[in-house]
């Protein structure tokens, strides 16, 4: 069965807070600033919002955000689980709510003090006590307890299987940072970066080094989703959700799916891609630019394969041809990605993918961008979406 949400929901507003290492304010303050920026961008009032979608990991309850902003009544609120896997899952929730009429105007938000507050790099043991703790218990006693270490375990085997080398990881890390260096909102703004610095940086968990890893960040991002009809009166050209899907594949664990017959792969993203292509009626050739979730450099490569930009094991050659650069086949992470703009759990990526379709990215490619891909974090239940120009 193919879902029927194509062009039934559109993005009309986007907003980011300032990104920093120490916001000095509460996560709730970041959330309401991001949502307000998106509301202003759309030309809406807070009271126009009647639905909200965020992460289970977000500490800002919908009702707190609503009360602080003066939103009033909410008729839809839904949360998505699995860390960064929730980025486009929130868009998926918002799209379903709008397409079915459960709500007319839904805001997707994520705000965190990811550097000055709880840091993911600290690992899972310290201060998180949840039902996940039993799961992490199979890894914590051995010292395998940070996101970098879990991704490193997949990367080592994937590089072994495919022969892809650090040259490809560097190309992802570098092309992204070139974009970031030109984005005034990015941590890497104005910063030079080269192979010597990449190679000299400390190892985090082999084979991953410092510059293969994203920036722990304080900040918030939000996007507003509504119906195509409502969008006609609003300030910005609407950006349509052509297709959006989520998937948890067979034998899935959260970041540690080590029990599959061959675990160096992301079958959950392959399936999500298949579904997005089916519901949008589009193919990989229709995608002009992308925002691919980049908590770590190698995960971009796996996703290029899952979405069919190249064959399995060929993503190294694909990126080394310059595909991700501004004049390449698929300009990718043009805001600087989470490697160099900020790590807002992928929601800043939905903001950038919207800009790419609007034609307003700070690194807008010269070619027409009719369709942009945006994805969620991998190694976990995940998903993605294709955004397109309104017809």
């Amino acid at each position: 069965m193919v879902a029927n949400v194509k062009d039934k929901a559109v993005i009309v507003g986007i907003g980011n807070t300032k990104f920093s290492k120490e916001s000095g304010v509460s996560e709730l303050s970041l959330a309401v600033q991001a949502v307000k920026a998106a509301i202003d961008d759309a030309g809406l009032k807070p009271s126009d919002i009647d639905g909200m979608a965020t992460f289970t990991m977000d500490t800002n309850d919908e009702i707190e955000v609503a009360r602080a902003l003066g939103v009033g009544e909410l008729t839809f609120y839904g949360r998505s689980h699995y860390g960064g896997g929730a980025a486009t899952s929130c868009l998926h929730q918002a799209t379903m709510a709008v397409a079915t009429g459960m709500a007319e105007t839904v805001v997707v938000y994520r705000a965190l003090n990811g550097r000055s507050g709880h840091r993911f790099s600290g690992g899972v043991a310290g201060d998180i006590t949840t039902s996940d703790a039993i799961h992490w218990g199979w890894y914590m006693p051995y010292g395998l307890l940070t996101p970098a270490s879990w991704v490193a375990m997949f990367t080592e085997r994937w590089m072994h299987n495919t022969g892809v080398t650090k040259d490809a990881l560097f190309e992802v890390a570098h092309s992204t940072r070139v974009y970031g260096a030109n984005n005034p909102a990015a941590f890497f703004y104005g910063r030079h970066f080269d192979r010597a610095e990449y190679d000299a940086a400390r190892t985090i968990a082999s084979p991953l080094q410092l510059f293969d890893c994203c920036q722990e960040s304080d900040g918030g991002s939000a996007v507003i989703v509504t119906t195509p009809e409502r969008a006609r009166d609003l300030k910005q050209p609407a950006v349509s959700v052509r297709g959006v899907a989520q998937c948890a594949a067979d034998n899935q664990e959260q970041m540690t799916s080590f029990y599959r017959e061959e675990f160096a792969g992301i079958p959950e993203m392959e399936r999500a891609a298949e579904n997005v292509y089916a519901m949008s009626g589009l193919t990989v050739d229709d995608i002009d630019a992308a925002v691919i979730y980049d908590a770590f450099s190698p995960i971009v490569l796996w996703q290029l394969e899952a979405w069919g930009f190249c064959g399995n094991g060929e993503s190294g050659d694909f990126v080394l041809d310059g595909a991700l650069r501004t004049d390449g086949r698929l300009p990718t992470n043009t805001h600087g990605g989470q490697l160099s703009e900020a790590y807002i759990h992928g929601v800043n990526g939905i903001v950038e993918a919207t800009r790419l379709v609007r034609g307003t990215s700070v690194n807008q490619p010269a070619k027409d961008v009719n369709h942009a891909l945006v994805t969620s974090g991998v190694g976990i239940p995940t998903g993605g979406a294709i955004l397109g120009k309104m017809n």
Binding site: I134, M140, Y142, G143, T203, Y259
Partner: protein
């Protein structure tokens, strides 16, 4: 101490706020590559901007720099400190605290701010004042006061390069119950243990007893790890277990470098290992250089006590 005595004492300590501890003093040695090399070696910082002259010469700065965090290092007394310190305002403040029973001392935090870089042959000039003293606080260590010194660093041209705030707690040490005190001194961090619930306690209990078990469906005999309450093949909830011989093959591995977690010994290698019985397990590979661990490597495990509280399977080259 009566309220009046306390007020008089607080007036006396508060009079120290703003007093100079050390006038602007140039460091005895200029910033130099030898000290930078030793410091970065100890810290484990491999940034070429500090130690690789050739790399630094080609960088945008055109020369190497000292790690900003070394700012305070250049003015340190070194061996001379063992022959005693000349009196200064900070020493006077400390002895005033001591005289009134606030003999405990705890450096609580250091905060540095950086404004300008320095390179070899620059000279760092330091001055220090007592910046602030808190009101009386009740702390876990006992009642006391926090005082903070503010050091300001300039280069030989008088340009400000950074500041450092150092906060110290002076407190009246509390009597600790003997048992608690003894426990305190014995506490060495151990590995983070798995929580134990209905579905996994039996596995960890067996591990404590020196065995690695693999859950087996009683109905269809399918093995499963990690344990869960139902068989995904036949939905039976009846299960028993077999003991693994811990013969295995490395499917993937990673050496953990950063962050280093208290309670773990580094170098530390984690691996996904396929056991001879057919299920996979995550564990450590030990008994060889981390660089020798590779995909396809045959390993043999045994359950060992890895610290005071923890029994774990550990795998050695077979």
């Amino acid at each position: 101490m009566t309220a009046n005595e306390l007020n008089a004492f607080e007036d006396e300590i508060n009079a120290f706020v703003g007093r100079e501890v050390c006038p602007p003093t140039p460091a005895k040695d200029d910033v130099n590559t030898a000290m930078i090399r030793q410091w970065t070696e100890i810290i484990g910082d491999t940034n070429p901007a500090y130690t690789n002259e050739a790399w630094a010469a080609k960088s945008t700065r055109g020369k190497s720099i000292a790690p900003p965090a070394m700012m305070y290092v250049w003015g340190q007394e070194g061996f001379a400190v063992t022959t005693g310190r000349p009196a200064d305002a900070q020493a006077d403040l400390v002895s005033l605290f001591n005289k009134h029973g606030y003999t405990g001392v705890l450096g609580t935090n250091v905060k540095q701010e950086y404004f300008k870089e320095v390179s070899p042959n620059d000279n760092v000039v330091m001055e220090m004042v007592i910046d602030n003293i808190s009101e009386r606080k009740t702390t876990g260590r006992g009642p006391g006061y926090f005082f903070e010194t503010l050091s300001t660093f300039t280069n030989q041209h008088g340009e400000k390069i950074g500041t450092q705030r150092f906060k110290v707690l002076k407190f009246i040490p509390q009597e600790q119950p003997a048992a608690a005190a003894a426990e305190d001194t014995l506490q060495v961090p151990t590995r983070i243990a798995s929580p134990r619930g209905h579905d996994n306690k039996w596995w960890w209990d067996a591990c404590d007893a020196g065995k690695v078990l693999i859950q087996r469906c009683k109905n269809c005999q399918t093995l499963r790890h990690p344990p869960r309450p139902m068989c995904g093949e036949c939905q039976s909830m009846e299960w028993d277990s077999i003991e693994s011989t811990l013969d295995g093959e490395v499917l993937s591995h990673t050496e953990l470098h950063h962050p280093k977690i208290p309670g773990y010994q580094y170098p530390l290698v984690c691996a996904v290992i396929r056991l001879g019985e057919g299920t996979n397990i995550v564990s450590n590979v030990v008994g060889c250089d981390p660089s020798a661990v590779h995909i396809g490597m045959r390993v043999k495990g045994k359950v060992e006590q890895v610290d005071e509280k923890t029994m774990l399977p550990q795998f050695y080259p077979a």
